[in-house]
């Protein structure tokens, strides 16, 4: 990808010429990737289900690296099992190691669910996962305490960590959610209106998950969040060792999602896709609302409008107050941010949400870069943010070398994205406002709030304060009133 960093893309063009070149015979190497592999996203999504151990069918290094990477962000235990392929399994297939591995995990962790994700190795040798898992179920039949097994295909040569995340969410819902009539007597007796709202929040922080629950509560509805790793990946100090950290959405709650009052699926990258967790529920008769990540004013308004439509409850006073505080702050600080040039990078959905918010406050995004190989990214972003200037560089498939090269020409005042952009920001001499995933160089990165009016306000404060601090640092006078 290096070397094509300067290629701008005209608005509305269906295919970026640079992206088309990417499809050429031998596209260039990636330098300092702004993405991770699919199994990482799947492992995190599985951590959002109660009693679950993620399991990778492949080499043990994949599990170890992903554990290390997630631990550095969340600062929480992150056990991921693996079938630990050896040469023998790569040649003759991994049936034996998969079965031994699953048995060992069930014995040691007594999980309610094992989330089995594949890796590039097991995908390439063509492992027939449904068959292998079926054989395992048959083998252990009759033995007590068998766990639920959910399989997701996550070859790392296709997509990014965000795709792996969404794929695992979809696999959970497709495997577990039952149609309303089959949902058992308990749900059969209840009407949909009494059921929780199913919410697919996307790849957000633990604070975001907690806040989404608060928002739903304000609207007077319960929420089934898939996934919900707000406790498993951000829990309290322990008295005794918890093999599987407490928290997460229960299997039972996911089973009952087929009877949900409504489903809300966040993430504009998903809205064009025919097969998602949300569309599966829609097939079961659940009314589906597809939104962006609720970041900034308009996208949060859209979430509230959906909740109003679902619950019949108008904007609750607490939300109205939060919205008012956000608007008040946006007015108070508008001069500090107006016309400031920003580079935004990260996962597609995070970039869309952040860009939308930046445009609401008068910041000028000069580069909106994502890692995904999504051809529609430009159209998708511009649909969400119609006022985005035509000359803003909007591109997928960018690595940090590309973003840095493009940023050098566009002279941003700050950058907005995860901590892997630090090296680039440091070289360019511009501040990085940290958000999204991963944040490996600050405390509490996993607790940053992005969503809702409160999330926008906290983002706004840190953004404005970064600019003010920079103003002070660069000043020979050093005013203490700004």
């Amino acid at each position: 990808m290096s070397g094509c960093g300067g290629c701008a893309k005209g608005s509305g063009a269906p295919v970026d010429p640079a992206e088309a070149a990417e499809d050429g015979e031998f596209p260039g190497p990636t330098t300092n990737a702004c993405k991770l592999c699919t199994p990482l996203g799947a492992c995190l999504a599985f951590k959002g289900v109660e009693g679950t151990v993620p399991f990778l069918h492949g080499s043990q290094g994949c599990a170890t690296y992903i554990r290390r990477y997630l631990i550095s962000h969340f600062r929480e235990p992150m056990d991921i099992a693996a079938s630990n392929f050896a040469e023998h399994s790569a040649i003759f297939g991994g049936r034996e190691v998969l079965h031994t591995g699953l048995a060992n995990v069930e014995r040691q962790y007594q999980p309610a669910l094992v989330g089995v994700a594949t890796t590039c190795l097991s995908e390439t040798i063509g492992e027939n996962m449904p068959q292998l898992l079926l054989e395992y179920r048959e083998k252990r039949a009759g033995a007590p305490g068998g766990s639920e097994l959910v399989h997701v295909s996550t070859p790392s040569f296709r997509g990014t960590h965000a795709d792996g995340f969404h794929a695992a969410v979809r696999a959970l819902v497709e495997t577990l959610a039952l149609p309303a009539e089959a949902g058992g007597e308990k749900t059969g007796r209840r009407s949909r209106a009494a059921q929780p709202v199913a919410l697919f929040p996307g790849f957000v922080s633990t604070a975001d998950l907690r806040h989404l629950r608060e928002i739903a509560a304000a609207f007077g509805t319960r929420l089934t969040l898939v996934p919900d790793y707000s406790d498993t990946m951000d829990g309290a100090s322990w008295s005794d060792y918890e093999r599987i950290p407490a928290g997460g959405t229960s299997i039972e709650e996911i089973r009952e999602m087929g009877s949900a009052r409504a489903a809300i699926e966040c993430g504009r990258a998903l809205t064009g896709q025919a097969r998602t967790a949300g569309t599966h529920l829609a097939k079961l008769g659940v009314p589906l609302h597809r939104l962006g990540l609720p970041i900034g004013l308009r996208e949060t308004d859209a979430l509230c409008a959906a909740l109003t439509a679902v619950t019949g409850c108008v904007l609750p006073p607490a939300m109205e107050a939060a919205r008012g505080r956000l608007l008040d702050a946006m007015v108070d600080g508008h001069k500090y941010v107006f016309g400031q040039r920003a580079v935004v990078f990260g996962d597609e959905d995070m970039v869309i949400g952040l860009t939308s918010f930046l445009c609401e406050i008068g910041v000028q995004p000069v580069i909106c870069a994502t890692v995904a190989r999504n051809r529609n990214f430009d159209a998708m972003l511009r649909a969400a943010v119609p006022e985005l200037p035509a000359d803003t560089l909007v591109r997928g498939r960018m690595d940090f070398a590309d973003i840095e090269a493009a940023a050098g020409e566009r002279k941003p005042e700050f950058m907005l994205g995860h901590s892997k952009g630090y090296a680039m920001a440091r070289r360019l001499g511009v501040p990085l406002v940290r958000c999204g995933f991963p944040i490996h160089d600050r405390m509490g990165g996993h607790r940053l709030l992005h969503v809702g009016y409160a999330g926008a306000l906290s983002l706004y404060d840190s953004l404005v304060n970064t600019l003010l601090a920079r103003k002070q640092e660069g000043s020979s006078i050093g005013y203490s009133y700004l």
Binding site: G3, T30, M78, T100, V105, R243
Partner: protein, 456 residues
């Protein structure tokens, strides 16, 4: 309700022993048990960590993005010059590459990146997938090397082809192909190479300085603050000191066989081991002047260090530690360094120790110390609780086990940013252990607060 006690998996019990008890030799050097949640990584990891600090080489990972992304700027290995090693280059293989093969993509990637970054050499790491789709990486390396005029070395590091140790071996093989290609003119007869020091937080510079003061020339450090040209001429040195024995003994043996250079296993962690390394090296050259200088250096450093350490020792005396690290030589040093601070070791384990290493640990540790090979979070948590340790020394993957249970933690892995080698390193270590064990936060965490409440 108390959860049932954690049990050891049937396939794992022979990898655990207790010091001071009779028993069979420990099982080790085995492929990790499936589903055991091993703390080990893979062959690729072994190669990548060893070669990573060679700062003027291009390191490209041939495979899908994960392996490259997870090892981007991962180590605290410093360079006094080029910083090329801190980048992450990958062929970022996509589905079509898997179907049609990745050789052309690799060739183009190497050509583009070498032209752009002008490295002194390039290392190409094979990942799992490459071993399966059958790319002829060696042939691509040869072609690109001929075209660019720099050594382009294939590192056979497919993740599934063995353990991390096999990755060390593959890295050593790649380094071997560089050795012997440089000019050895001007190298002193009193000269050494440092093998297996990775210049974490500048440790190589600390150690080099000691040898300089004694009058011993360090030809190459492999691979801390490493340079391709130094490695090419390192066969001109008269002795190899092997610090990280697990990763570098293979290279040392090859250099002994190919160039007649003997080697000594040493450790630069802790006062005893650091001093022994300086004395042993001086002794090897048989020059009384060198030995006198070594005594001066040790006397000087230790004299300065002891009074500073004493204060920490008073506060740490009697505290218990758990150690889980990559290699056994570091574990030996840590057991001794903790003793210097008045502490005992209740649990010690490694990812890559061998039978002799574990026999030695059983010998040197206090009776009752649990010794474990290739452990996992549940076992480590179980032993930490049973032994009621105050401190855990390990890497990032072990940190949350300790913290969740209200146990202090000291990072002794390659990601750390604190120099822990040499005499100044021992002082830093004492300071960090003190900060880890003596923070007031432990008074409030539930596991300890409950006990306090019960005792009062």
């Amino acid at each position: 309700m108390n959860p049932p006690a954690i049990e050891i998996l049937p396939g794992r019990s022979t990898a655990i022993a207790v010091a001071g008890t009779a028993g069979l030799p420990m099982e080790c050097n085995k492929h990790s048990l499936a589903g055991s949640v091993t703390q080990r990584a893979c062959v690729f990891c072994g190669s990548r960590v060893v070669l990573y600090p060679i700062a003027d080489a291009l390191h490209i990972v041939h495979g899908p993005i994960g392996c490259a992304a997870y090892t981007w700027d991962i180590r605290g290995a410093q360079s006094s010059g080029p910083q090329l090693h801190r980048n992450s280059f990958s062929t970022d293989l996509q589905e079509l590459d898997i179907i049609y093969g990745g050789e052309k993509k690799l060739e183009r990637a190497l050509t583009v990146l070498i032209a752009k970054h002008q490295p002194k050499a390039a290392f190409v790491y094979s990942t799992c997938i490459v071993g399966v789709i059958g790319d002829d990486v060696g042939a691509v390396c040869k072609t690109v090397s001929a075209g660019t005029g720099i050594p382009v070395l294939s590192v056979a590091s497919e993740g599934f082809k063995g353990t991390k140790k096999d990755g060390y071996r593959a890295a050593c093989e790649a380094v071997c192909t560089l050795i012997g290609t440089g000019d050895t003119a001007g190298i002193s007869p009193v000269s050494i190479n440092l093998l297996g020091d990775f210049n974490i937080a500048g440790e190589t510079w600390i150690i080099r300085e000691y040898f300089k003061r004694i009058g011993i020339e360090v030809v190459a450090t492999i691979t801390g603050d490493g340079r391709v040209d130094d490695i090419r001429r390192c066969h001109g040195a008269k002795l190899n000191l092997v610090q990280c024995a697990g990763s570098m003994t293979h290279l040392a043996k090859k250099m002994r066989d190919d160039y007649g250079i003997p080697f000594q296993k040493v450790s630069f962690f802790g006062i005893e081991d650091m001093s022994a390394a300086l004395y042993e090296t001086a002794k090897y050259f048989g020059d009384p002047v060198l030995m006198e200088k070594a005594r001066e250096v040790v006397g000087d450093e230790v004299g300065r260090l002891y009074p500073q350490i004493r204060g920490y020792k008073e506060k740490l005396i009697g505290k218990k530690a758990a150690i889980y690290v990559g290699g056994a030589f570091k574990a030996f040093s840590l057991v001794r360094a903790l003793r210097t601070l008045g502490m005992t070791t209740a649990l010690v384990g490694t990812q890559t120790g061998d039978k002799d290493d574990y026999a030695e640990l059983r010998e040197m540790c206090d009776p009752g110390t649990v010794i474990v090979d290739d452990s996992n979070p549940l076992e480590l948590a179980k032993f930490c609780l049973e032994k009621d340790v105050d401190l855990f020394i390990g890497g990032v993957k072990e940190r949350p086990i300790a913290y969740k249970l209200g146990i202090g933690f000291c990072d002794h892995n390659h990601e750390r940013k604190e120099a822990l080698a040499g005499y100044i390193g021992m002082l830093n270590f004492a300071r960090e252990v003190h900060a880890s064990c003596c923070s007031p936060v432990w008074n409030y965490v539930p596991r300890r607060a409950a006990r306090k409440g019960a005792a009062s």
